[in-house]
């Protein structure tokens, strides 16, 4: 059995020119209008903005998680990278797109290579597929293709079918992954919800006015020794606010808005943790959990400084969803484990600073 498995792996490796599945996944994410490889930028979430601040744990967080940043009275510095989800190298802030917020909790004084925990979150509550193989398929289907306006007659027929015609292309939008993603979702049930949510998400009025979901399950150990499957999400304390979809989209505003906002005062997010229950699928990140799960307030993150050095504190930073500390473990979610390697492949290609995994 083992020999057959190794044999199959070798055949696969040879057939794919010796590249790992993670290399192929990263390759599959590049868009024709994305950054050129020599620019050494990210294949998705390409355009981002760095900021910093601090996280203060809530009084009861330590009961649920013994990780250092959740200890009562503990305040730790954080670095945050907000991003547009797209791999388009040109900024189109006003286009409907999921957004990302990667947070690093710095747990010692060495902010470059010290002990830290990362929490990566996006503005939809589920990942696109539950398994790596399906994600490879999805990535192939969702390759950007020409995005043309549907003909009036076709739209008329759609309306008579009580169906929503496809949105018109945005100004300067020529290609999009949406058509392929939707075609994939038409076939595969797992993908319907994330694709539907992604397609209808709109554009946030500010990076500080969007909720962010760390879509995977993690296992946290509480002070009582209990291990719980949980999911985290950030809720903006100012509330959620989107741009008016009826207005023409602005291409460039999110970075400027954040800089102006932080110059005037801090922005903050509540970290909420939903506790999974028997009967939940802890390893399927494509499925959002029910709203009926118990939610615990774990602390407040206050962002008070726009990063002066956007190269060091944004472009050159490398996050990893499996960069965790004692008290938090990854679940068996295959996508979470794949992302550990994907982010490492991406980091190596970008020549970004060493991640702790590279040393192990």
């Amino acid at each position: 059995m083992l020999v057959r498995s190794i044999g199959r792996g070798l055949v696969n490796w040879v057939m794919t020119g010796g590249s790992s599945i993670y290399d192929r996944l990263v390759d599959s994410l590049w868009r024709p209008d994305g950054p050129k490889p020599e620019e050494k930028r990210r294949p998705v979430h390409t355009i981002g903005t760095g900021a910093s601040g601090f996280f203060a744990a809530s009084d009861n967080a330590a009961h649920f998680c013994t990780a250092e940043h959740f200890q009562k009275g503990r305040t730790v510095p954080v670095s945050v990278r907000f991003s547009n989800g797209s791999g388009n190298a040109t900024r189109h802030d006003g286009w409907s797109d999921l957004r990302g917020m990667a947070t690093r909790f710095h747990l010692d004084d060495d902010r470059q290579a010290g002990v830290a925990a990362d929490l990566l979150a996006i503005t939809v509550p589920g990942f696109f597929t539950p398994t790596v193989d399906e994600f490879l398929d999805f990535a192939k289907w969702a390759l950007p293709q020409p995005y043309l306006r549907q003909s009036p007659w076709y739209k008329f027929v759609k309306l008579l079918n009580l169906e929503q015609p496809r949105r018109n292309p945005y100004p300067r939008e020529t290609i999009s992954p949406d058509i392929g993603a939707e075609a994939f979702a038409d076939r595969y049930d797992n993908t319907k919800l994330p694709v539907f949510l992604d397609a209808s998400i709109g554009a946030p009025a500010s990076f500080a006015r969007a909720p962010y979901h760390a879509v995977h399950s993690f296992i946290v150990t509480g002070s009582d020794g209990a291990r719980r499957h949980v999911r985290f999400n950030w809720q903006p304390t100012l509330g959620v606010l989107n741009k008016d979809p009826q207005q023409p989209p602005e291409d460039v505003y999110l970075e400027h808005e954040l800089r102006e906002r932080l110059a005037a005062g801090p922005a903050s997010f509540s970290l909420m943790m939903a506790i999974g229950e028997g009967g939940d699928d802890f390893n399927d990140s494509s499925r959002a959990w029910s709203f009926q799960r118990r939610r615990v307030f774990m602390g407040t993150m206050t962002i008070d400084r726009y990063a002066d050095d956007q190269w060091t504190d944004n472009e050159h930073m490398s996050f990893n969803p499996c960069r965790l500390v004692d008290g938090i473990e990854p679940s068996d979610d295959p996508i979470l484990h794949a992302r550990r390697h994907l982010y490492e492949v991406s980091r190596l290609r970008r020549g970004a600073p060493l991640c702790p995994f590279a040393r192990s």
Partner: protein, 238 residues
């Protein structure tokens, strides 16, 4: 370079807001699809789930059409409830699985909205025991109510009656509607894959079958706790 939109394109984009097109849709297009792709009326109340959290703080939205819809008829229903406040509190205190309950009159309906823990049938049986006489007094004023009075002697019929008048709860995640509709037709989920763009039609047709409905299972500030846990935690002697 994105293509430019001509006058015909703008006209079609604007169609859903045009009065004549709304008329066409409501009087011809929707009836056609109701005939072509009929949807069963989906049952009311929360759905079965194995997770404990799904069985706590469940919503009941009971809509009971009034027999007499005049102000006098409404007043009679109001009086029947107004004279039962003590009975209602006695029921709340004794049943122990109810978080909140309230009665409202909306248009021609008397509605009871409540939040309860546990199994639906047990909940209804509990309140037959504790506040059955209130329901007997109220059902006199409600269409079809006579058939289940006295509730204590018509328990099974009353449970079915309540279930039938409890609002259908839309799934919390929009695309799950496909699964509910398949299930109602005894089809395996996604056996015939659904196009995502047909979700709007699925919704319109479902709202034809279930004109009144609840938008999801409700939003909870302290999800996952039972009324009994809250009473116990705050030392209310339970």
């Amino acid at each position: 370079m994105a293509d430019e939109e001509g006058w015909l394109g703008r006209f079609v984009d604007n169609l859903p807001e045009q009065g004549w097109f709304k008329f066409l849709s409501n009087h011809f297009v929707v009836p056609y699809w109701v005939w072509r792709e009929p949807k069963a009326k989906l049952p009311g109340g929360p759905r079965m789930a194995v997770q404990p959290g799904e069985n706590l703080q469940r919503m009941m939205n009971l809509v009971m059409p009034l027999k007499d819809r005049s102000p006098i008829g409404r007043a009679k229903a109001t009086l029947a409830l107004g004279q039962s406040v003590d009975t209602l509190y006695a029921g709340l205190d004794n049943v122990g699985t109810i978080h909140f309950a309230r009665f409202v009159i909306i248009e021609n309906n008397l509605c009871m909205m409540s939040v309860y823990d546990g199994d639906f049938d047990s909940y209804v049986r509990d309140f037959i025991v504790s506040i059955g006489n209130v329901f007997d007094a109220v059902l006199v004023h409600v269409e079809g109510g006579d058939a289940v009075i006295p509730t204590k002697q018509n328990v099974e019929k009353f449970v079915d009656w309540i279930h039938d008048h409890d609002l259908f709860q839309m799934p919390d995640f929009a695309t799950d509607l496909f699964d509910l509709q398949d299930e109602a037709q005894n089809l395996a989920a996604n056996r015939a894959p659904h196009d995502l763009s047909s979700l709007s039609r699925a919704l319109v047709l479902q709202l034809h079958a279930n004109p009144n409905f609840a938008l999801g299972s409700g939003f909870r500030s302290y999800a996952g706790y039972s009324a009994a846990q809250i009473r116990s935690t705050f030392g209310m002697g339970w």
